[in-house]
């Protein structure tokens, strides 16, 4: 049986009709064409499919699209501003060489985006803990950790600029 669902994805209301067993990851990728969310293991360990559900990072391979009906989802495609300005995390990953093949990167970016919202100036330990559920086979994590710190700096600068502008 198919189920009509309505998701708000990256700020846009999207409708789809999906079988109950349709994983949210597959719905985003194949029903909605948002292929930036990647599938690396389909058992919740690698974290490549991480998206933000109502702002919180979750594994989209461990959730049915039907369960997400009515919720807000942010994918990697929705991290940059509407005008295309990259988010601090996106800029930092590029600046610090925090990605190689890029397959795990969307999951890291979503995870880190939510983390820096909660913790704007994390310690090294907190950064490692925050990304400890995401596998990367290319970078050895060295530059990802650097990138998270750099993203925190960029986020602080952006906020300062905004406050400056608001005055």
């Amino acid at each position: 049986m198919n189920h009509p669902i309505t998701l708000t994805v990256n700020g846009v209301v999207r409708e789809a009709t999906v079988p109950a067993r349709r994983l949210l990851s597959d719905c985003l990728r194949h029903d909605l064409g948002l292929t930036g969310t990647h599938v690396g293991c389909e058992h919740g360990v690698c974290g490549a499919c991480t998206v933000l559900l109502d702002g919180e990072p979750v594994r989209s391979c461990l959730m049915f699209a039907a369960t997400a009906d009515g919720h807000e989802i942010t994918t990697v495609e929705g991290l940059a501003a509407a005008d295309g300005t990259l988010s601090p995390a996106q800029r930092a990953f590029a600046e610090c060489h925090g990605l190689q093949c890029g397959f795990c990167t969307p999951g890291f970016l979503c995870t880190v985006t939510a983390f820096l919202r909660e913790n704007a100036a994390p310690t090294d330990e907190e950064v490692v803990e925050a990304i400890s559920g995401n596998l990367c086979r290319c970078t050895g994590y060295q530059n990802i950790i650097k990138a998270v710190h750099r993203a925190a700096e960029l986020q602080a600068e952006t906020r300062a600029d905004k406050e400056e502008g608001a005055r």
Binding site: G36, Q100, C101, I131, G133, I145
Partner: protein, 794 residues
């Protein structure tokens, strides 16, 4: 900064799309294409008695079901054995779908195509295959006893047997040298299986164009040109009717160099048969049981040495677990047995290996490709010599090093490329000096004593290696400058995250004197470049980098010649800066490369402004000569190939400090230091990234990753829950230092860096744990449970 980009940490040009979700990986292509799934053998060794698909026929959305009996002609035959070798007397490969016998869990038996993957899996679950269970052969030593056979026609389960021997300078054999040496040691070493395990599995998407009678195939491969040739051959298609493209690839690490995988011929075949498109995206469970593994070896070592620790004779016998098939030949054990020698001068060397079949997933190269095992063997040997003589471990190594003035150094063996193992350059004593300084080797005893006083157990270890990189036979580069001033670079080999689009653009921009923003690079697309070998063996930068540089030099020469005509100058007086050709010292006498590109083509339809302006520069054309002179071609483009006489040899030395918990036996890496020499660096940021990733995989191989087969040939840990790849929490901070000893073999002076990081890690960690615990560490990986068991036997 526009031109001197070689050597700079230029930010990656790939990243813009990859950080915004606009990358195009295999499964991102072909939206809505019918999906394939496979019924795979649940048994390690069995005879197929019957396949009953009737229950699956009712599945809504089913498109087709295929078994071996459906395969026509060459497709029904065993897949190619890519790299034959005289010693591989009993090479065996599988058919794309199993024919009669299955030889490992995961071997494909039935292919299903359905509207989507969910439905295809539904159909697979309804197909009944009757098997007669045969006795599985698991474990390399068990297989070597040959009580049961993996292939009925391979006696002893021995696929290959090879002995290489280099006598000492005075003509003595290695065995004689060992036996007559002042000191002798004999021991056994074990390295378990791991796997490349890229985060993106394999995948194939094929689209048959019935109007054009042509096939376009996308594959998550490390070698699109060879996949193309394999498909054309297997499907009986003319080569020009097949194009293969490697899209963005989510990591390879070796497993994707094997080709053609069964799916790489089956999916295109089904697409043609069905007159449309078919896609297969490997899932993680499939990747564990139906791609490839590596590393598993048992090594028996005998070594003879003098009082200074100089190795007089080394005699190594290797049992190499090759799994069920040998599609990639015996490259892995050949590399182990040759690269084992590392940076050392060994008095006399004998190495013998047997490549043994088992009823497990086939073994093909994984990053490092046999080197980690070889280095483990040699570095464990060095540590044992030091322990036996009571010498510092670095002294023993230094006593055996090839010295800087001894290059080129001939090790007297035949390397993986079939050419002599001759090291081109290096500076091993300096690398060791740098490493000792970086890790604080000489002051470690105080650190250790201080830790002991606090009840903490720590140890230090090191490992040295030499890596043959940039193996031939060739790669090519094509460079075209178009009338808009853009520079289009292509090369046939593929990319899986190494940053080729960036480093090749750096090379082209530097060679041509153009802003890097004008340069675009395409890799792994047979529509752009047809001849290539592939990305493996740390060869891409060396091979394609040099080929692109040579192609650029051709284009530059042509551009200068045309510009010289237009400027009425001597080409030797011209330079290119910021994409403009000008007379050295007279910047006003200049002509943009864009205009040169227009001039290079006598057909000057004015598509754009450059073409309109071009006429004013065109010199008086002679009416006696054809518009294109003999030996010339229209357009500002060039192609060249780089084909080295032999490999170039990079080197590295790593050290680590570990802490072992006296109670829980947990092992923690406190520091990890790397000194690395890959010749001239094109982009130091990218080289560092390669080393980091390699070390992390090495840490996985040293402490976490193994393929756990039971006696029935079932892989017990075929998931990311139980196959333990390191997270950020398991990888230490990696400290690096670089030494640059240019290669004399190639125009750019570079050596490969891709595999470097992973190679010595198991040796280094074993060395450090042994130092901490005082227990010989002869088997890797090592877990807390293993260490606990070793402590009990102390």
């Amino acid at each position: 900064m526009t031109t001197k980009l070689f050597g700079e940490p230029v930010q990656r040009r790939e990243d813009a799309r990859l950080i915004t979700g606009r990358g195009r990986y295999l499964d991102d292509l072909g939206a809505g294409a019918p999906a394939a799934a496979f019924v795979r053998s649940p048994h390690a060794h069995a005879r197929i008695l019957d396949i009953d698909v009737s229950a699956a026929l009712d599945v809504d959305g089913l498109v087709a079901i295929y078994t071996w009996e459906d395969l026509p002609g060459a497709l029904a035959e065993p897949l190619p054995l890519l790299i034959p070798h005289p010693a591989l007397t009993h090479g065996r490969t599988a058919c794309p779908l199993a024919r009669e016998i299955v030889r490992h869990v995961g071997e494909p038996v039935v292919m299903v195509v359905a509207r989507d993957r969910y439905l295809a899996e539904d159909a697979c679950s309804l197909i009944r295959v009757d098997y007669e269970i045969l006795t599985p052969v698991v474990g390399v030593e068990e297989a070597a006893r040959a009580v049961h056979l993996v292939h009925g026609d391979v006696p002893g389960n021995v696929g290959a047997h090879l002995v290489q021997e280099v006598p000492s300078a005075d003509g003595r054999s290695a065995r004689e040298a060992v036996e007559t040496a002042p000191h002798t040691l004999a021991f056994r070493l074990d390295v378990e299986r791991s796997a490349s395990m890229p985060l993106e599995g394999r995948g194939v998407y094929a689209r048959w164009d019935d109007d054009d009678r042509s096939l376009r195939v996308y594959s998550s491969t490390q070698s699109s040109t060879s996949v193309r040739m394999a498909i054309a051959a297997k499907l009986g298609l003319p080569l020009p009717k097949v194009e293969v493209i490697a899209p963005d690839v989510g990591g390879g690490f070796g497993v994707k160099i094997v080709h053609p995988w069964p799916e790489e011929v089956l999916i295109p075949w089904a697409a043609r048969l069905l007159g449309g498109e078919v896609k297969w995206t490997e899932d993680r469970r499939e990747h564990f049981v139906s791609s490839a593994h590596e590393r598993g070896q048992v090594q028996y070592v005998r070594v003879g040495f003098d009082d200074d620790g100089r190795v007089l004779g080394l005699d190594v016998n290797i049992l190499h677990d090759h799994g069920a098939y040998t599609p990639y030949g015996i490259i892995v054990p050949i590399i182990t047995s040759t690269q084992l020698l590392g940076p050392y001068k060994i008095g006399a060397y004998r190495v013998e290996f047997s490549s043994i079949y088992t009823n497990t997933v086939q073994v093909t190269p994984y990053r490092g490709a046999g080197r980690p095992q070889g280095v483990f063997c040699m570095e464990r040997t060095m540590d044992k010599i030091a322990a036996h003589l009571g010498l510092d471990r670095t002294e023993v190594r230094a006593a055996n090093f090839i010295q800087s003035d001894e290059f080129p150094y001939d090790q007297g063996l035949i390397f993986q490329d079939g050419r002599p193992l001759i090291y081109d350059s290096g500076n091993y004593p300096e690398a060791l000096r740098m490493l000792k300084e970086l890790i604080g080797w000489d002051s470690f005893p105080e650190l250790k004593a201080a830790a002991a006083a606090e009840g903490r157990t720590i140890g230090i270890g090191l490992g040295c290696y030499v890596e043959g990189t940039g193996v031939g036979p060739y790669e090519g580069g094509h460079v075209q400058i178009t009338s808009d001033g853009r520079v289009h670079v292509s090369t046939g080999l593929t990319s899986q995250g190494q940053g080729h689009e960036t480093v090749f653009a750096q090379i082209a921009a530097t060679e041509l004197g153009v802003p890097i923003e004008k340069v675009s690079v395409v890799t792994g697309d047979t529509r752009r470049f047809g001849y290539a070998v592939g990305t493996f063996a740390s060869r891409a930068a060396v091979m394609s980098g040099n080929a692109i540089a040579l192609a650029c030099r051709k284009v530059r020469e042509k551009a200068l010649r045309i510009a010289a005509d237009a400027l009425e100058a001597d080409p030797r007086d011209l330079e290119i800066t910021d994409g403009v050709v000008h007379v050295a010292g007279a910047p006003s006498a200049s002509i943009p490369l864009a205009t040169v590109a227009v001039l290079s083509n006598p057909l000057r339809y004015a598509f754009d402004e450059e073409a309109q302006r071009a006429t004013q520069f065109s010199g008086a054309s002679s009416m006696d000569r054809p518009p294109i002179e003999e030996g010339q071609e229209p357009g500002l483009e060039g192609k060249d190939y780089y084909s080295p006489i032999r490999s170039t040899f990079a080197c590295g030395m790593h050290a680590a400090i570990v802490r072992t918990d006296p109670l829980t036996a947990e092992i923690e890496i406190l520091r990890y230091a790397v000194v690395h020499d890959c010749g001239r660096l094109i982009n130091p940021m990218i080289v560092e990234g390669q080393i980091h990733g390699g070390v992390a995989q090495g840490v996985g191989g040293a402490l976490y990753e193994k393929m756990a087969y039971d006696e029935h040939g079932q892989l017990l840990n075929a998931s990311f829950m139980d196959f333990l790849m390191p997270y950020a929490t398991e990888v230490p901070r990696i400290e690096t230092a670089h030494l640059e000893t240019p290669s004399p073999l190639n125009p750019l002076g570079i050596k490969g860096a891709g595999e470097a990081g992973v190679i010595p890690v198991s040796a280094v960690i074993a060395s450090a744990i042994e130092d901490a615990e005082g227990i010989p560490i002869d088997r890797m990986p090592i877990s807390p449970s293993d260490l606990h068991t070793l402590r009990l036997t102390r």
